[in-house]
Symmetry: C2
Subunit: 247 residues, 2 copies
């Protein structure tokens, strides 16, 4: 039987795919990641208003960043996949202006701000890589905003699925067009600025058309080219060093 592929650290996969980080800087960064924790789904890593003193790395699982409105509604502004540094921005922001929570049982690693700040003071190249990382984040926000503002609901949903698939593929979590996407339709709705009822109807339409199926957290894309077409998905904004990994 074929041996399982060497399990590469997701952070390594992630950073290598979006930056030209050196092995040396990578090792230095990884050496700070000793403090790890397993958490359940629904764990709030940081909350709006917090003054965090450390950043976290998502090793396994799934997370999202969101803001809560006064009427109780929630806008999810980002999904995070393994390898992401979801709250890296807290390094340069006193106060969190949004929250971060897991959507699935997850493993987190923590890096104290102090250590990270010292590391960046010593290593300009690494600093540039991490800075670039936060900027790519903001690129994704821009794309998301554009979807919220100007894309019709089906295209918006398709685009979100394309993005998440692409990012999961980078860290090796997509197999034959299938992936576990541990979110509910209500979570998708919160990300898309739609109601969950409407999301449900669009998903049914997609399924009826043979485009994809999303049931019980298992996402199966049957027709990636057409999905990309509906989404008008252009992965440029992910700023990958190599061309996209699905096609």
């Amino acid at each position: 039987m074929a041996p399982a592929p060497a399990p590469t650290h997701p952070l390594v996969r992630h950073l290598r795919s979006t930056t030209d980080i050196t092995s040396d800087d990578l090792d230095a960064l990884l050496s700070l990641m000793r403090d790890q924790q397993d958490v359940d789904k629904g764990y709030e890593v940081v909350r709006e208003g917090d003054h965090p003193t450390r950043c976290c790395l998502l090793l396994t699982g799934f997370a999202c960043r969101y803001k809560l409105m006064s009427d109780g509604s929630r806008q999810i502004v980002a999904f995070n996949v393994p390898g992401d540094l979801p709250d890296l921005l807290s390094l340069h922001l006193g106060v969190m202006d949004h929250s971060l929570a897991t959507l699935a049982p997850s493993r987190l690693a923590y890096v104290p701000h102090d250590a990270l700040r010292q590391l960046t003071a010593e290593r300009p190249k690494l600093t540039a890589c991490l800075w670039r990382q936060t900027i790519i984040d903001s690129s994704m926000f821009l794309e998301w905003m554009t979807g919220l503002g100007r894309r019709a609901a089906p295209s918006r949903l398709a685009h979100l699925i394309c993005e998440v698939m692409a990012r999961l593929a980078i860290v090796g979590l997509v197999d034959e067009g299938q992936t576990i996407l541990p979110v509910t339709q209500a979570d998708l709705a919160d990300a898309l600025g739609l109601s969950y009822v409407h999301v449900n109807r669009i998903l049914q339409e997609f399924s009826r058309e043979g485009l994809l199926d999303f049931r019980r957290r298992l996402l199966t894309v049957h027709d990636w080219p057409r999905l990309k077409e509906i989404a008008e998905f252009d992965p440029t904004y992910l700023h990958l060093m190599q061309p996209a990994t699905i096609d």
Copy 2:
């Protein structure tokens, strides 16, 4: 008569209000800003797909960043006021994934990426300030996204006006609740994900209620507290070092 207040450089006002930059770093940065240019309204500073080799500083005028959709519609993702470094992110991004254009006659200063990169390699403190700056940008995107996804149209418009007023106030461009906002209602619509017809109707409603008037690029806010209330405007996400400047 009272002497006019000393005209401070807008970049200085801006950076001082959002970071703890030192005078020394500030001078170093300013010394790179020699290359200046006056441009007309509608000038495209950088375009989606470009590979810029310099960043710009908006000295006077008004600009916006936007993405164009295949159907010709436009999503404005940010407005830029004097003192902003609207495309600082291009320093760490090979390709622009959105465009930047002026909305009013403006004066720009350019800084080559080379020079800026060298400066950041030498000055970790300055790097942190600029990094922070790009992160605050991304905070504003998050707030904007939340508005697009979850705020009703009137609240969304009110929020945008609050933000722009607050940021103009920082650089001293608001006087007695009045400011020149050099955008059309169609521009506002492109920023808000609404049609210009709808924006017009909301503005009329605001005017009828005595909340504000926006005519021929002159914005007059009559009832700032109520505007903030409608917008649920909480300036935390602007990450100002001092509390907000209007109240």
